[in-house]
Amino acid sequence: MPNPPLHQLIATTYTKDNLHKKILYLRSFFSNYFFKDNQGEAIKLALAKHLDGEQATPYLKDTLVNLGDDFYSFFNQENFNSVLDSLDNEVKQYPIITMYVPVLLPPSEVEKLGTWLRTNVSEQIFMELSVDQSAIGGCKFVWNGMVHDFSLSKRLEGHATEIKQLLKNYDTNG
């Protein structure tokens, strides 16, 4: 487990993709903030401006800017690169679940899903989310190297004979 201040970053990030983006934004921000003349501007304000310049999504911007002051006070000119590197290396050891959902989930739903997984599966889990319309409903996921299909399309396959019979009966009855 990383340092408690850094735990805030992990706690508010549920997908590997978002985590990598946040680390990149922080690295570029600190590079500018510590080595350029920022005239003592407040760090969160500077961060917000920087993220606007990077065209970060509102969700990522909010989650980063809303991190506690103790998170940002942890970084300085000498340590920000090494700390972010160690965080990146730390996260590589966390378990990953690959999920296939039928529709694109908004950030809020991603957050809810991540919370459910960290509550019911593992508190250090990260997701890799993909959209698979053939699932129709429900989801498929890969966990511990095994594929689990709980999609609607799988259910239809499971009842193929009944469906065919139903159609035949429909055809016969007109």
Binding site: V101, P102, V103, L105, P106, E109, K112, L113, W116, N120, V121, Q133, S134, I136, G137, G138, C139, F141, W143, H148, F150, S151, L152, S153, L156, E157, A160, I163, K164, L167
Partner: protein, 239 residues
């Protein structure tokens, strides 16, 4: 010593000069002597030569005279001989022509006789041959006619049999073809139905997918999502 040597040399030179003078005088004496000798002997030689020449001329004259005589005699003999042979050859020529004419006449007569005989024989032969050919042609025509009649009857019989066989063959082939086609159609029908049955499920899936995407909202999807996750959890998929 040098003086004595010079004195000896002078004496030697003088001696040599004197000797040379003597040799020259001797040579002159010899030349003059020869000239005198030749002047003395020339008239005798001249006489002998002239005499010989005269005799030679005489001999030559006699020889020429004799040769002219011989030539004249030879010419005369030759002319006589030529005249004689001309006369004789004229006789021979006349005889030859006479005999040649006789021979020619005889040959012509014989050839005419043989020619007439040959014509007669040829006419007789041709006549006989024509008669033979006419008979042969007639026989061949009769034979051909008989054979043609036989062949026609055989062909008619064969064609009739072939036609019947071909009709039967065609009929049975067409029947077999129809039976085969019916089987193929039936097999195709069954295969198509099986294919439709197999594809029916994916068709239903695609239709359902399209229909549900249009009808399900985000809340419905998330509801289905969490139901699926709960089911997975209950079945121990996350253990």
């Amino acid at each position: 010593m040098l003086d004595s040597l010079l004195t000896e040399t002078g004496s030697l030179t003088l001696l040599i000069v004197v000797l040379l003078f003597l040799v020259v005088v001797l040579l002159l004496f010899l030349v003059m002597n020869n000239r005198r000798m030749s002047n003395m002997t020339y008239p005798v030689y001249d006489f002998v030569v002239k005499d010989a020449q005269k005799k030679a001329n005489q001999i030559t004259h006699d020889a020429m005279k004799e040769s002219r005589k011989i030539l004249t005699e030879a010419e005369l003999a030759g002319i006589k001989t030529v005249a004689k042979s001309k006369v004789e050859s004229k006789h021979v020529e006349a005889d030859y022509e006479e005999q040649l004419d006789a021979l020619t006449q005889e040959t012509q007569t014989m050839l005419t006789k043989y020619g007439e005989h040959m014509d007669a024989e040829l006419a007789r032969l041709t006549d006989a041959l024509e008669k033979r050919i006419a008979v042969g042609i007639q026989k061949n025509e009769n034979f051909l006619q008989e054979e043609t009649d036989k062949l026609s009857k055989q062909l008619a019989s064969t064609f009739g049999t072939l036609e019947a066989n071909a009709k039967e063959q065609i009929r049975s082939n067409v029947e077999a073809e129809f039976i085969g086609v019916k089987k193929v159609i039936e097999t195709y029908r069954q295969e198509r139905f099986a294919l439709i049955d197999n594809e029916l499920l994916s068709l239903i899936e695609n239709t359902t997918q399209v229909a549900l995407q249009k009808s399900l909202n985000l809340a419905d999807h998330t509801d289905l999502l969490y139901k699926a996750l709960e089911e997975a959890k209950s079945k121990g998929s996350f253990s």
